[in-house]
Structure formats: C-alpha cells, structure tokens
C-alpha cells in the first residue's frame, strides 16, 4: 500500500515533467506541410527511393545530376510531370496534390540536402536539355552504342547483364530527355557508370551522347513517339476509372 501511495505522485510527476503525452504538432492541412522530408517521403520516395536513391525512378540524391539540372528544371518537371512517362504532374494547377510553394520546398530541399560540388576531373559537363543539345545522328549513334553501351545492355541476340534498352516497350516509356540524362549521369546507385567512366580512357562528348539518344529514339516503334513531343499515346483519349485523377492533363 505504501509503495502504491508513493507511486501515485511519482507517476503523475513523471508524466508532467516528460509530458510524453503532450501533443507536439497539430494535424495540418495537406497544403500546409512544408517540411521537405515529409513532402519527399509522401510524394516522391515511392519511385525515387527512400533517400532519393535506389528507387525505380531517376536518382535525385546525385550531386552529378543536380549539377546538370537547374532548380527551374526540377520545378518544371515536378509541376507538369513528364507526359507519357511514369512521372505524373504534382502541381494543383495540373491536377496534382501539391501547392506551388510545396513544390518549391521540395526543389529547395533536394538542392540543399543532396547537391554537392562535383569534381569533373577535367571533363566538360554535357548540355542537359535535349532542346539545346547538338542534333544527334542515329547512324553514328549506333556505333557509339556499340562502343559505350553494348557491353552491358547487349545487342541482337547478345543479352547484356543489365538488360536491353532497345526494347520497344522500354523506349515507349522513356522520353528522349530521360535517355539523355541517364546517358550522362548513369545510375551509380544501380551500378551504371556516368558518361566519363564507361570505357577506360574515353569520355563521351556532347555529340556522342546526342547520337546515342538519336539512335535509341530511332528504335522506338512508329506510333510510339514520346508524349513529350506528341500529345500522348493512342489509348489516352478515353481514359477513365481508377487512377485517372493522377493522369497528366492534356
């Protein structure tokens, strides 16, 4: 009994001092969430990986990638998505869940947490945007592919250990910009080297990259033109049902 009597004020005191039951934050409107980590984990981590890498989608926790793109590029992609690819639009103006300032918070967070100075070891950083890059030549691109990519991605009956990228269905879901970006920065998290480290002693230049992308684009079957260039593919006109609210608006 005495022990119980002594425990009562002690428990009460502990409770008040630590206040472990005291509510800390208040439940917020989803538009009011501004914390980068929460925003990223709720909206981006599913495809881009828990800490921005080792996801199925492009690696964002990548100083090289962040050196390549501007903050405006990131903003635009999050805002409008990449029609025809699995990247949906996130801005409320495009039917997504996020307010403008939240997108800005994500962009700022990505830059703040993951951007670092990159040592290019003397190589020039290629141009990011497909629009500003030199015109590619598909014929030369095939030769570049054989030289730089074939060892891992295979050709014809030779299956590389990383799997083919000439698969028409893969190409139908990968935009030219995605191909270019991946050709430049690689996927270090999954073992794909960047443009400087494919062949010892050889660094791909801007033209080489444009050529490879042009050749890959030429492997895409007709009627499978990327939505970024065309409107969208043929089945999108009668989209309805579950998931349609996340579809990019046309």
């Amino acid at each position: 009994m005495k022990a119980a009597a002594a425990a009562l004020p002690l428990i009460a005191l502990l409770g008040f001092n630590s206040g472990c039951g005291k509510p800390t934050g208040q439940a917020k409107q989803p538009e009011a969430v501004m914390d980068f980590h929460q925003l990223f984990s709720e909206n981006c981590s599913a495809c881009h990986g828990v800490s921005g890498q080792k996801g199925a989608g492009p690696r964002l926790n990548d100083p090289l990638y962040l050196a390549l793109v501007t903050k405006q590029d990131l903003y635009n992609v999050i805002e409008k998505g990449r029609p025809g690819t699995p990247m949906p639009a996130f801005a409320q103006s495009s039917g997504g869940p996020l307010a403008e300032k939240q997108i800005q918070a994500i962009v700022d967070g990505i830059e703040k947490d993951w951007a670092k100075p990159v040592n290019l070891q003397g190589a020039a950083l290629p141009v990011y945007s497909i629009a500003k890059a030199p015109q590619g030549d598909a014929k030369r691109g095939q030769a570049q592919y054989m030289r730089n990519c074939m060892m891992c991605h295979g050709f014809g009956s030779f299956k590389g250990m990383a799997g083919p990228i000439t698969d028409p269905n893969y190409l139908a879901l990968a935009s030219d910009q995605y191909l270019r970006t991946t050709a430049i920065v690689g996927r270090i998290d999954w073992g794909m080297p960047d443009w400087r480290h494919r062949i010892p002693g050889h660094v791909m230049n801007d033209q080489d990259i444009s050529d490879v992308v042009a050749w890959l684009a030429s492997q895409r079957p007709k009627g499978y033109m990327m939505a970024e260039n065309q409107s969208t593919n043929n089945s999108s006109s009668n989209r309805s049902g579950p998931g349609s609210e996340r579809e990019p608006k046309q």
Binding site: A4, A7, L8, I11, A12, L14, G15, F16, G19, C20, G21, K22, P23, Q26, A27, K28, Q29, P30, S41, E42, N43, C44, S45, A46, C47, H48, V50, K54, G55, A56, G57, P86, P88, H153, A162, G163, P164, D167, P168, N169, Y170, A172, L173, A174, W190, G223, Y224, N233, N234, S235, S236, N238, R239, S240, G241, P242, G243, S244, R246, E247
Partner: protein
C-alpha cells in the same frame, strides 16, 4: 461542542438515519469481493467526466467554425489544457471499459435475476446512454473522424423507415452537417444525456439499496421466487456487514487504482486528436471511429448490401431488446457461472466477435491506402538485378496506384493480394489478362494503360517470386529450358499489336 452542533443538525436533517439507510446499509459479507468493484469504478469515472467536462466547457466553443480551433488552443496554448482533454478522453475510455466489465460480471454472477430485474433494466438504459455519450463526445472532438462519423450516423438515421428524413433534420439541425449541428450535439452531450444518466444512476443505486447487493453466488443454490427474499434476509441477518466501513475497502482501493491509471494514461498517451480539420473537401482522409465503435465500423464495412437493413435496424433492436427482457426470461434458477455454460460461452463468443471486428476495424484491410502509390517505395531488393524495362514496370506499378490495393513486403494496401510472389501464381498471359480486364473485385485497367505500360508492368511482376520458388508456367506449352518467360517477347508483341489495332 462539535457534538452539539452535529446533534442540532441531525435533528433537522436526519443525517445519521440517511447514512444508515444508504452507505451504512448491510450487505452480505461475501459481496465485499474483488468482482464487485466495477460498478462503483464506473460511477467514479462518470463523476470524473462531469468534472473534466465542465472544465473543458469553459474553453470549448461549440461552433463548427471555432470548435477545432478551440481544441488546438486547449492542446497547445492553455496551460495543461492538453492534460484536461487527455483526462476526459481516458476517463471516457475507462468508463466504457469498466461499464462493460461491470455488466459482464453482473451477467455471469446472475445478479440480474429475481428480484433485481429493474436494476438490470436501468443498467441497460445506462449502457445505451453511455454509448450515446461516447458517440456525441466523439462529435465534440470536431475533426475529420468526427465529421465522417457524423455523416455515417446521419445516413444510417436517414434510412429509418417513414421518419428518416425528419430524424436527420432533428439531429443535424438541417439536412446537412452545418452550423447548428454541433450546437445540437453539444446540447445532447452536455445537458440532455448527462441529465438522463444522473437520473437513471439515482434509480440504479436506489434499487441496489432496496433490493440489496447480490450475494456471492453458490453453485447448486438456484433462485426461487417464493423463497429467495427470505433466504436473502437470513444472509443479511447472519453475515451482513455495513457497506461503510466494512465492505467498501476493495472499492476504494480499486477506485484509487483506476484514478492512477487514468492519470498515468493521460500523461503518457495524451489526448486523442484532434486529427485533421473537419473539411469535407479533403478526400485523402482515413477517418476512424473511437475504439468502442470500431467493431460497428468493421461490421458495416464488411457486410453485403442485402444485409444492411437487417444489421442496421433489426439487429440493434433485437440485441438491446434481448438485454431488456433477459431478467424476465431467465429470472430464476442457477446464479453461479459454474453451472451456466451457455452464459459463459455467450460472453466468450460475443467478446471474440467484438474483438475480431475491432481488430479488423483498426486495420481496415478492405480500404485502399490512398497514398501508398507515392509514399511507399518499392523495396530495394525487389529492384536489384532488374532490366531497364522491368524497372519501368516498377514505376508503372507505382504510378498507376497498384500499391494502393496491393502490398509489397507488407507495405501498401491489403485490399488485393500481395504481389511479392505474384509470379508464382499467375503466368505471363494470366497477368496480362488480369491487368487489362480486371476481375475478382479488381477493376479493369486496360483503358488506363498503354500497351507498353502493360508490357513493362507484367515484365516487372514476372520477376516477383522467391528465388526458391520458380514462376508459374503455362502447362499447355512445353517447358523451355531456362527462364520460361524470357523468350516471350513475341507474345507481348502480339498483345501490343492486337491492342493497338483495337483502340484505333
């Protein structure tokens, strides 16, 4: 001096007499048992609820615009306001729990039998009133749970035959949840139902006094209408002790324990909510009722359409009605649970059912997790050694929100089967058909997916099998050495062509 003051008062107020006929009345010595403490503990909780509730009402604003804000004020600004809310919340949880224990004890000890039928009936009224307090109290915490709970309550009410619309109107103060709704529920929660409870508790206690506390049941000593009253009188004569101070000891110790637990739980776990604001335009909410209604929530979610009217209107009437007539259909006979196997089994069954439904209501595996597609990452080990096409397939899986219903490594919705080993169950052709045409509760996604997306998605799903367990194989086709699915580029091609042809 003091004695003379007391005597003066006693001559006018009859204090001694009042004490002797109430707290000092004689009870069977063996009813001073640990099983007999739950009723007084429930009453203690009710008193605590009145005190904390009154204090909360000093700050709380019962208006749809201000309620949520005033709760935030209590939680974050008002000194110890959060603790007050926590006390009221845990007091209510304990009250419902202790009331249930009390009821089960009374049932198992046969205390509802002759001559205490009315004590039991008034107790059933208290049960209904307490649950009404719990529901209206949940509405007071005017957050998204309250809002949608209210919506469900209103639509159930609206289905009452003939007068449904009017009832809803009366309850909500209009056809929809609007300005007056919260005022009405506030009035119910603060004035009407507590007044009813106080009245019935008075009757309940008076019946305990007039008909006496049930003696500890002895197996093999059944209640008989003609002899019981005499037997009880004898028990009181032989071994009766005054309730105060002799028999109240265990009640006091238990009451202290309950108080300590409520204080501690409130300090450690804090108040409930409020969750998000009650905004009907927010659709990405996962509203849940408080735990005492989770079983109802689960039952309503799981039952088929044709059973709705029965479960909503016939079952409650039957259940409460059964509780009301229980002392009249089994008013005599054995009291001891040792001789009443049906009673014991009923209690066990009811608690198993309620427990299972509550667990299901809490996990709600039937409702899709609407943010899994963007918030649950594909596990890294399910991405390793995948081809670029399969990686794209994993992206399609996320982007088309498959994860909202299908889990990977336990994360994601539980509505459809988990996909971790889907390749062991379905062949490539079956996967394509399932994705495009749906079936078995799954919608058809053919119109939401391009042929390339189907191909990538299926390619990825074909990699989802444990290393020790080979993927499913089409028994109509001879097995090809190596990976049976690797060569089937041609099949996908054919599907793609036929699909493109169809939609053009």
């Amino acid at each position: 001096m003091l004695r003379s003051v007391y005597n003066w008062l006693d001559k006018r107020l009859y204090l001694t007499k009042l004490f002797q006929s109430t707290a000092g009345h004689h009870v069977p010595a063996n009813s001073g048992s640990w099983f007999y403490v739950f009723g007084s503990a429930t009453l203690l909780c009710f008193i605590l609820q009145i005190v904390t509730g009154t204090l909360l009402a000093l700050v709380y604003v019962p208006s749809t615009n201000e309620a949520w804000k005033s709760l935030q004020y209590l939680n974050h600004v008002q000194y110890l306001g959060w603790y007050l809310r926590a006390l009221h919340n845990w007091g209510s949880n304990f009250m419902v729990a202790l009331m249930t224990l009390h009821m089960v004890q009374v049932f198992l000890f046969g205390a509802y039998k002759y001559p205490r039928e009315l004590t039991w009936v008034s107790g059933v009224f208290l049960l209904v009133a307490t649950l009404a307090m719990a529901f209206t109290g949940q509405v007071m915490r005017f957050d998204e749970d309250a809002y949608w709970g209210l919506g469900i309550g209103a639509s159930i009410t609206g289905r009452v035959p003939f007068i449904g619309d009017r009832l809803v109107h009366l309850l909500l103060g209009g056809p929809i949840i609007a300005g007056e709704t919260l005022s009405r529920f506030f009035a119910l929660h603060v004035f009407v139902i507590p007044a009813i409870i106080i009245g019935i508790v008075g009757m309940h206690l008076r019946l305990v006094l007039t008909k006496g506390i049930n003696e500890y049941p002895v197996p093999g000593k059944p209640v008989r209408r003609d002899t019981y009253d005499g037997e009880y009188e004898k028990i009181i004569e032989k071994q009766g002790v005054p309730f105060v101070p002799d028999a109240i000891g265990k009640d006091l110790i238990f009451a202290a324990l309950v108080l300590v637990l409520i204080l501690a739980f409130s300090a450690i776990f804090g108040p409930a909510g409020p969750s998000g604001p009650p905004d009907p335009t927010r659709v990405d909410t996962v509203p849940r009722p408080d735990f005492y209604f989770l079983s109802v929530f689960a039952a309503l979610a799981l039952l088929p359409d044709w059973m709705e009217t029965i479960v909503l209107f016939v079952m409650p009437v039957l259940m409460v009605g059964f509780l009301f007539i229980l002392p009249f259909i089994s008013g005599t006979g054995e009291k001891s649970a040792r001789k009443r196997p049906v009673a014991v089994l009923s209690v066990i069954t009811i608690f198993l059912v309620l427990g299972t439904l509550t667990y299901m209501g809490d996990t709600a595996p039937w409702s899709p997790k609407m943010n899994a597609w963007s918030g649950q990452s594909v596990p890294v080990d399910l991405l390793q050694h995948r081809t670029p096409l399969e990686m794209r397939g994993a992206l399609v899986l996320q982007n088309k929100q498959c994860r909202n219903c299908h889990s990977l490594e336990g994360h994601g919705g539980q509505r459809g089967p988990a996909l971790d080993d889907v390749a062991t169950r379905l062949t490539r052709d079956q996967l394509i058909r399932q994705v495009i045409q749906g079936g078995g509760n799954m919608p058809a996604y053919g119109k939401n997916l391009s042929p390339a997306e189907v191909d990538a998605l299926v390619a990825y799903m074909l990699t989802l099998h444990p290393p020790s367990h080979p993927p499913a194989r089409d028994s109509a086709q001879p097995q090809i050495s190596g990976n049976p699915n690797a060569k089937e580029r041609g099949v996908g091609e054919a599907v793609r062509k036929s699909m493109t042809g169809k939609s053009q």
